[in-house]
């Protein structure tokens, strides 16, 4: 699946911003609090085709009932945001397989 997270965030309105212009560790805490299930990945690993930027291990939240995942999104001048965005059920299977078990 080819996916540009930046384009998605600009062109869609079905995601939630849980924090923005924040520090990466604060966003990790929000993801840990707001998620029913957590996996962890390494910096640079691709989720939905987009590389995750952060400090290892990077938490990725899964809320299966809502059909969403929670990830961080970092830009050099805007800090880090925690966002919750919808994903297909099949994508959740491949996302869970990326867990490094941290």
């Amino acid at each position: 699946m080819s996916f540009c997270l930046e384009t998605y965030l600009q062109q869609s309105d079905d995601y939630k911003v849980l924090a923005k212009n924040s520090g990466v560790k604060e966003c990790y805490k929000i993801i840990e609090t707001e998620s029913d299930e957590l996996i962890h990945v390494n910096p640079g690993d691709k989720i939905l085709g987009a590389r995750l930027i952060g400090l290892p291990p990077i938490p990725v939240g899964i809320n299966e009932a809502e059909g969403t995942i929670l990830i961080t999104y970092t830009k050099p001048c805007h800090g880090t945001a925690a966002i919750e965005l919808p994903v297909e059920k099949e994508e959740l299977i491949s996302i869970r397989k990326m867990d490094i078990g941290a």
Binding site: V24, P43, I53, G54, L55, P56, P76, T80
Partner: protein
């Protein structure tokens, strides 16, 4: 041998002169040097060096990240003066798996300590840190010393 200089947000006044200086030093050491930054930081560099005397190659931070692979560069030098810059540096480091130097600076000593901790706990990069904001000299002096450990062997 290829070196990457990774920049953060250009709002810290010391960043642009340090980037030009680091590119000059690495070029002199024999590295093929590329500066990777967001568009705003890149435009500052273009104005500083219109004839590309010191900055030979420049790339976009997001596009480079997308296609980056282990071994693409032999040295990573990151300028870290914000939380986001630390996370980008750590991410580039983990993908490249190469020798690295983190130039960490801020006007706030507590921030310098925080960024040092973020980088040191997640990488084996050599850390060059100083309290600096407008004046690049404290960090430049330390960079000169650190670069002696990264000479290209004949």
């Amino acid at each position: 041998m290829k070196a990457m200089i990774l920049l953060g947000c250009p709002e810290a006044p010391a960043q642009t002169p340090l980037a030009v200086y680091a590119s000059y030093k690495l070029n002199q050491m024999g590295y093929e040097t590329t500066i990777v930054s967001n568009p705003a930081a890149g435009k500052l560099l273009d104005v500083c060096d219109p004839e590309h005397v010191y900055i030979k190659n420049r790339e976009d931070i997001d596009r480079t990240l997308e296609d980056l692979e282990e071994g693409d560069y032999d040295l990573l030098l990151g300028l870290v003066h914000k939380d986001a810059a630390a996370t980008f540096f750590v991410t580039y480091y983990h993908i490249l798996q190469t020798k690295a130097i983190a130039l960490i600076f801020s006007r706030d000593g507590a921030e310098v300590e925080e960024f040092v901790d973020m980088v040191a706990s997640s990488t084996d990069a050599e850390i060059v840190a100083a309290k600096a904001y407008h004046n690049p000299t404290p960090i430049r002096v330390k960079l000169d010393k650190a670069l002696k450990n990264f000479e290209i062997e004949e």
